[in-house]
C-alpha cells in the first residue's frame, strides 16, 4: 500500500489501551464464569481460579430435586429454555417473513402514500416499546391470550416487525433494479424473482434482521413480566429472576450458570454477523 507508512509495531499507548479493553470487558465475564464453575460449598468464598472446577451448577439447573432442597430457585430450567426458544423462534420467523414482504414494497414499488407508509413503520421502529406495556396487557387479556406464549409472541412482534421491515428496506434498496427487470422479462413471477434473486443478494440483510428479531425477543423482560404469570410459561429472564429472594441471592453458582447459559445463543449469533450490526441498525444512515 502506498500509504504514508504508519508504525506497525505496537506503541505503549496502544498496548495500555488493549490491556484496559481486555480487563474492562473480561473481568465481569471471568467472575461470573468462575462462579458458575465453583462448587456450591465454596460459592461464598470463591477463589480467583476455581480449585475444583465443576459443571454441576449447570446440570443442577435441570434437576428439580436440587431446587426443592433449597427452594431458592426455579424448579427446572428446561421449561424456560424451551419457552424462550419457542417464542423467539416464532417471532423471528413471522417478523422476517412479513417484514421482508413489506420491505420489498417500500424499497421497490411506487405509489401514492408510500412516504406515509414508510414513516408509519419508522415511527413504530423508533418508538420505545415500554409504552405498550399497559395496552398490550389489556389487549392480551381481552383476546384470552393473557398468560400464553402466543400472547407474548404477539407482543414481541409489535416491535420486531417494524424493526426487521426497516432493516430489510435498506438492504433491498441496494439490489440493482436491472437484475430484477431482466428476471421479470425472462418470465419469472414476482415471487420467484424475490425468492431466487432478491433474497439471495440481500442474504446479509436477511441474516441480520433474523438475528436482531431473535435477540430482541430473547432479551425481553418487561412483556414477559406483564403477560406471563404461570410458572410453566416462564421465559428465561423470569426464571432467573427467581434466584433473587427479597434482594438476596443464595445460589450464586447456579445463578451464574443460568446467566451464562442465557447469554450463549445471542452472543454466538452476534459474533456471526458483527460486520453488519451497525449498518443494519442505522439503515444506511451512517455513511461517514
Amino acid at each position: 500500500m502506498p500509504m504514508v507508512e504508519r508504525k506497525r509495531n505496537i506503541t505503549v499507548l496502544t498496548l495500555v489501551g488493549i490491556i484496559l479493553l481486555i480487563l474492562f470487558v473480561g473481568i465481569p465475564f471471568y467472575w461470573v464464569l468462575n462462579l458458575s464453575l465453583t462448587p456450591e460449598e465454596e460459592a461464598y468464598s470463591p477463589k480467583l481460579f476455581p480449585s475444583n472446577p465443576t459443571l454441576s451448577n449447570y446440570f443442577d439447573l435441570f434437576d428439580p430435586s436440587k431446587a426443592a432442597a433449597r427452594a431458592t430457585r426455579f424448579e427446572n430450567f428446561a421449561g424456560p429454555v424451551v419457552n424462550s426458544s419457542i417464542v423467539a423462534l416464532s417471532v423471528t420467523a413471522l417478523s422476517t417473513f412479513l417484514g421482508s414482504l413489506a420491505a420489498y414494497n417500500l424499497a421497490r414499488f411506487n405509489y401514492k402514500g408510500k412516504t406515509y407508509a414508510s414513516l408509519y413503520i419508522l415511527f413504530a421502529y423508533v418508538f420505545p416499546p415500554f409504552f405498550l406495556m399497559i395496552p398490550l396487557y389489556i389487549l392480551m387479556n381481552m383476546l384470552k391470550l393473557g398468560d400464553t406464549l402466543f400472547g407474548l409472541m404477539l407482543a414481541h412482534l409489535a416491535y420486531t416487525l417494524p424493526f426487521s421491515t426497516w432493516i430489510l428496506r435498506g438492504y433491498f434498496m441496494g439490489v440493482p433494479k436491472d437484475i430484477e427487470d431482466s428476471a421479470l422479462v425472462d418470465g419469472c413471477s414476482r415471487f420467484q424473482m424475490l425468492w431466487r434473486i432478491v433474497f439471495p443478494i440481500s442474504a446479509p440483510g436477511l441474516v441480520t434482521a433474523t438475528i436482531f428479531s431473535f435477540t430482541l425477543s430473547w432479551d425481553d423482560l418487561i412483556f414477559a413480566l406483564v403477560i406471563l404469570s404461570k410458572a410453566e410459561n416462564y421465559t428465561l429472564p423470569l426464571a432467573i429472576a427467581f434466584f433473587m429472594q427479597g434482594g438476596e441471592v443464595y445460589a450464586w453458582g447456579e445463578l451464574a450458570a443460568a446467566t451464562i447459559l442465557a447469554a450463549i445463543p445471542p452472543v454466538s449469533l452476534y459474533l456471526l454477523i458483527q460486520k453488519y450490526v451497525v449498518s443494519g441498525l442505522t439503515g444506511g444512515a451512517i455513511k461517514g
Binding site: 504508519r6 505496537i10 496502544t14 489501551g17 479493553l21 470487558v25 465481569p28 467472575w31 462462579l35 468464598s45 414482504l101 413489506a102 420489498y104 414494497n105 414499488f109 405509489y111 408509519y120 413503520i121 419508522l122 415511527f123 413504530a124 423508533v126 418508538f127 420505545p128 415500554f130 409504552f131 405498550l132 406495556m133 399497559i134 395496552p135 398490550l136 396487557y137 389489556i138 389487549l139 407482543a155 409489535a158 417494524p162 432479551d219 423482560l221 418487561i222 429472564p237 441471592v249 450464586w252 451464574a256 446467566t259 442465557a262 447469554a263 445471542p266 452472543v267 452476534y270 459474533l271 458483527q274 450490526v277 451497525v278 449498518s279 441498525l281 442505522t282 451512517i286 455513511k287 461517514g288
Partner: protein, 284 residues
C-alpha cells in the same frame, strides 16, 4: 394495471395491519384509559383529568423526569466516550486487531437481563468489587445503596452499551479517505491537529445518529434498573419505564393512573422520536 397496484399493496398490508393492531391502536388506547377511574370489574368510569392531576401533584413525577434524564444522558455520554476511544484504538494497525473487534462486541450481544445478573454478583457485599476493595484494605461499599445506586446502574448500562458506539465510530473512521490524512501530513500537520480537523468533523454525522438512537433506547431501558434496584432505594433510580410499570402492576396496581403517567412523559420521547426520524433517518 389496476389489479397490479392492488397486488403491490398485498406485500405491505399484513405488516401494516399487525403494526396497527398491536402497536398504534394500543398506543391510542393508553390515551383513552388515562381518563378512566381504576375499576375492579364493571364498566369504566370517565373521570376527566383526575389521574393527570394526581400525578402532577405528587412530587415523584419530577423525580422521575430528573432520574430519567440523568440516567440516559450520563450513560450516553460515557458510552460515546469509551466507544470513541476503543474505535480509535482498534482502527490502528496491529496483530490481533480483528479478534479484539469481535471481543469488543460481546457485552452488547449479551442480553441486558444477563448483564444485570452479572453485576448483581459483582456488586454484592461479598462480590468481586468489594473483595478487591478488601484486598486493598478499603471498606466495602454498598453499590446499590442510596448514595451509589444511580452511579451503579449507569455503569451497568455503559458497560453493556458502549460497543454500539464503538461499531458506529469504527465504520465512520473507516469511511474517511486516507488521502486527506496523507495531504495533511505533507502539509506538516501534527497528530493532534489531524484528529481535531479531520477525524472529528468527519465523525459528526455518525456521532449524532448513534447518540440519538442510543439516547432513545437508554430512556426506554427497563431491564437493567428493574433487576438491580427496582427503582429504589428511596426512588433514587426511579426512571420513566420503571415508574410506569410499578404504578400499573405493583404498588396499588392503578392502570389508568399509570397510563396518565405515560402520556405525561410522552412529550419528552416525542421530541426525541422527531429528532431521530429527522436527523438519523432524514435522508432515507
Amino acid at each position: 394495471m389496476k389489479l397490479n397496484k392492488i397486488a403491490d399493496w398485498l406485500y405491505i398490508l399484513p405488516a401494516l395491519a399487525v403494526i396497527t393492531f398491536i402497536f398504534i391502536l394500543p398506543l391510542c388506547y393508553t390515551f383513552w384509559i388515562s381518563f378512566q377511574e381504576k375499576v375492579l370489574g364493571g364498566s369504566p368510569k370517565f373521570i376527566g383529568l383526575t389521574n393527570y392531576y394526581n400525578i402532577l401533584a405528587s412530587g415523584a413525577f419530577y423525580t422521575i423526569i430528573g432520574n430519567t434524564l440523568v440516567y440516559s444522558f450520563s450513560a450516553v455520554f460515557f458510552k460515546a466516550l469509551i466507544g470513541l476511544a476503543i474505535a480509535l484504538l482498534l482502527n490502528r494497525k496491529f496483530p490481533g486487531r480483528g479478534i479484539l473487534r469481535a471481543y469488543s462486541i460481546i457485552p452488547w450481544a449479551t442480553p441486558a437481563f444477563a448483564v444485570a445478573f452479572f453485576f448483581i454478583l459483582l456488586y454484592d457485599l461479598k462480590g468481586l468489587f468489594n473483595r478487591i476493595l478488601g484486598f486493598l484494605g478499603l471498606p466495602a461499599l454498598r453499590y446499590l445503596g442510596p448514595d451509589l445506586a444511580m452511579f451503579s446502574v449507569i455503569f451497568v448500562n455503559v458497560w453493556r452499551g458502549w460497543p454500539f458506539f464503538f461499531l458506529g465510530f469504527l465504520s465512520g473512521l473507516q469511511a474517511i479517505p486516507q488521502e486527506i490524512y496523507e495531504s495533511a501530513e505533507i502539509d506538516g500537520a501534527s497528530r493532534f491537529k489531524k484528529f481535531v480537523y479531520i477525524t472529528l468533523p468527519n465523525l459528526k454525522t455518525v456521532f449524532f445518529t448513534v447518540c440519538l438512537l442510543s439516547l432513545m433506547w437508554t430512556m426506554g431501558d427497563f431491564t437493567t434498573i428493574y433487576l438491580l434496584t427496582k427503582g429504589g432505594p428511596l426512588d433514587k433510580t426511579l426512571t420513566a419505564p420503571i415508574a410506569s410499570y410499578l404504578k400499573a402492576f405493583a404498588t396499588g396496581a392503578n392502570i389508568p393512573e399509570a397510563a396518565a403517567l405515560l402520556i405525561l412523559l410522552l412529550p419528552i420521547y416525542v421530541i426525541l422520536i422527531y429528532l431521530v426520524m429527522k436527523y438519523a433517518y432524514g435522508r432515507a
